[in-house]
Symmetry: C2
Subunit: 345 residues, 2 copies
């Protein structure tokens, strides 16, 4: 068996040049006076600055850790869809997506884009479609990040099974792109963003799918649930039992043709459980580096988010490991597969 | 080593006679016209009815599964603190707590009470203290259930680290009783009650403690986080790493003198992870039967919530198992220990 291409399906541009954050701060400061700027053209980031921000960070770590290609989307916590209105998010998403596209052009062997959407609380998700189309058609992006809670921790949108979201799903099916279900910053003081809100959203999204028949309406829709699926694999018996009480089919049939989990679980016992409990075909390698947990684990001497080590050490066959590192990502992200195939990979 | 007493620290009176639900429905129907009743005295449940509801259900399963003693509190999903006002909750909590007390009097060897509190969204938690005192002093209850989100899925209360909650904590410390941090029914359509809201609340509560210095203010305060700690043990590396980034002490020192997890995880791999990752002294046996998941797992032929089997099969020493079944519960629920000691147990 050939050595797998190691595809990290969950990377965000967390290291963008400071000018991006400054621009956003100016946008937020003028939310009620947008005529005072900033204009999109006020943001100037050179290719050299982009290169530097990647080479010194993500690319350096990818080389050190031995991953090849990252599916790269705008910084999740900075999406902050709760800020401002649709126009605010539309401008911000366009800027952030374009930067990820430029990174993918500068490092075509190492990065390929996934889009954030210009969601806004209470706004019809159909408004996101022009940006989604642009990202797929013009930028060659291979997936999207869909925020099930654009309110940022107040959970005011309908569940993912609601027809509210169907315009997005129709477009996803048309383009055959998956969505990573990923919330952004919590502005609810009850929820720490990366320690509670992210994991809660993962569990919540899974359960919204479980209680519904969404995938009967969209048999080819694909959701990637990040952070190892939140609490789901740890409570797999609970979820199997709940589905059983609701007279749903077995989870394999009910959800696992459509739902996938990434490997952003930052210790060996967690990865061992994930890979034991969830069928291999539903697990996609990811690290979300450089992200929520950037330190070195004193118990191992390695970075917490160096998830490749855990996959390497897990009780998996070479074939399973190949699927987790490469095969599953190519199956779920078909546009990524097509792009690799075009390059002879 | 003597055979442990098997103490199930997480049982709710989910099988109360139908008259209780009927009374509650009448209360809810007259929320705006409480003068139309029902009166507390309208609820009539005989000792025989209580006996029957327990003997045919919890006690039968306890005998079948081999557990000895259950810490028994009112049905969590029926607390529904979001309904009505403080008076609504005060009357309802008093009724439910009294029923649990009566069960503990009818079956003193098998049940001991823990109290629900008459919480109400936006109401000072200090208003719960008279009911708490009554339950401890008159009913001999050994713990309380504290709902971190009395709004039922809208999370409108401050985090558990806020001084808002301190009156409860002062009373807990005075009586040396622990709180199980347990939400109730979700009225937010995003959150399925037992498949999302419960687990999310567990994770949220842990993270609220992690980001704060609550246990510096209350070094003897004890929280029991149910459902195996939500997503926490599965993501233990993430939490260790987040604490490290925040320059908090190691979790062992920062939280594990005060936070405990129950074993309501309904499959073997989940229990294996819990008992591997979390120090034994922080794990308390529990099943939450007859609760969210009442079926038989087709993969094992046994009840999902027969958690004793998983503990029995986990890679634990006899001493560890003794602590999980009995020792830790007696250390955390000191009033339970005192009651057992008085009986020569």
């Amino acid at each position: 068996m050939r050595k797998p291409l190691i595809i990290d399906c969950h990377g965000h541009y967390t290291t963008a040049p400071k000018a991006l954050e400054n621009w956003r701060n100016a946008q937020v400061a003028n939310l009620n006076t947008p005529e005072l700027g900033p204009r999109v053209s006020d943001l100037k980031i050179s290719d050299d600055e982009l290169r530097e921000s990647i080479e010194a960070n993500q690319l350096r770590l990818m080389k050190e850790r031995g991953s090849d290609l990252t599916i790269f989307s705008p910084r999740a916590s900075f999406m902050a869809h709760h800020i401002g209105n649709f126009e605010t998010s539309a401008t911000w998403a366009a800027i952030c997506n374009e930067l990820c596209y430029r990174v993918s052009q500068l490092f075509p062997d190492n990065f390929i884009g996934a889009a954030m959407l210009p969601q806004s609380p209470g706004v019809d998700p159909a408004t996101c479609i022009p940006e989604l189309e642009r990202c797929v058609k013009e930028y060659g992006m291979v997936g999207i990040n869909l925020n099930p809670d654009p309110s940022g921790g107040h959970w005011t949108s309908p569940p993912l099974s609601d027809r509210h979201w169907y315009p997005i799903y129709e477009k996803m099916v048309e383009y055959d792109i998956p969505a990573m279900i990923h919330v952004s910053t919590s502005c609810n003081p009850c929820f720490h963003t990366t320690g509670a809100h992210y994991l809660n959203a993962d569990t919540t999204a899974f359960m919204q799918c479980l209680t519904s028949d969404l995938f009967k309406d969209f048999p080819t829709l694909k959701f990637l649930i990040p952070h190892g699926g939140g609490a789901v694999p740890y409570h797999w018996g609970r979820f199997r039992g709940l589905a059983q009480e609701m007279k749903k089919p077995l989870l394999e049939e009910h959800l696992l043709n459509n739902i996938f989990f990434d490997t952003c679980v930052y210790h060996q016992p967690g990865i061992d459980l994930l890979t034991k409990v969830i069928p291999t075909k539903n697990v996609l390698f990811a690290s979300e580096m450089i992200g929520a947990v950037r330190g070195i684990d004193p118990e191992t001497g390695h970075y917490y988010d160096d998830t490749r080590r855990y996959i390497q050490a897990a009780a998996l066959s070479d074939e399973d490991r190949f699927q987790i590192f490469e095969g599953n990502a190519r199956r779920v992200f078909t546009r990524l597969d097509a792009a690799l195939t075009r390059k002879g990979q």
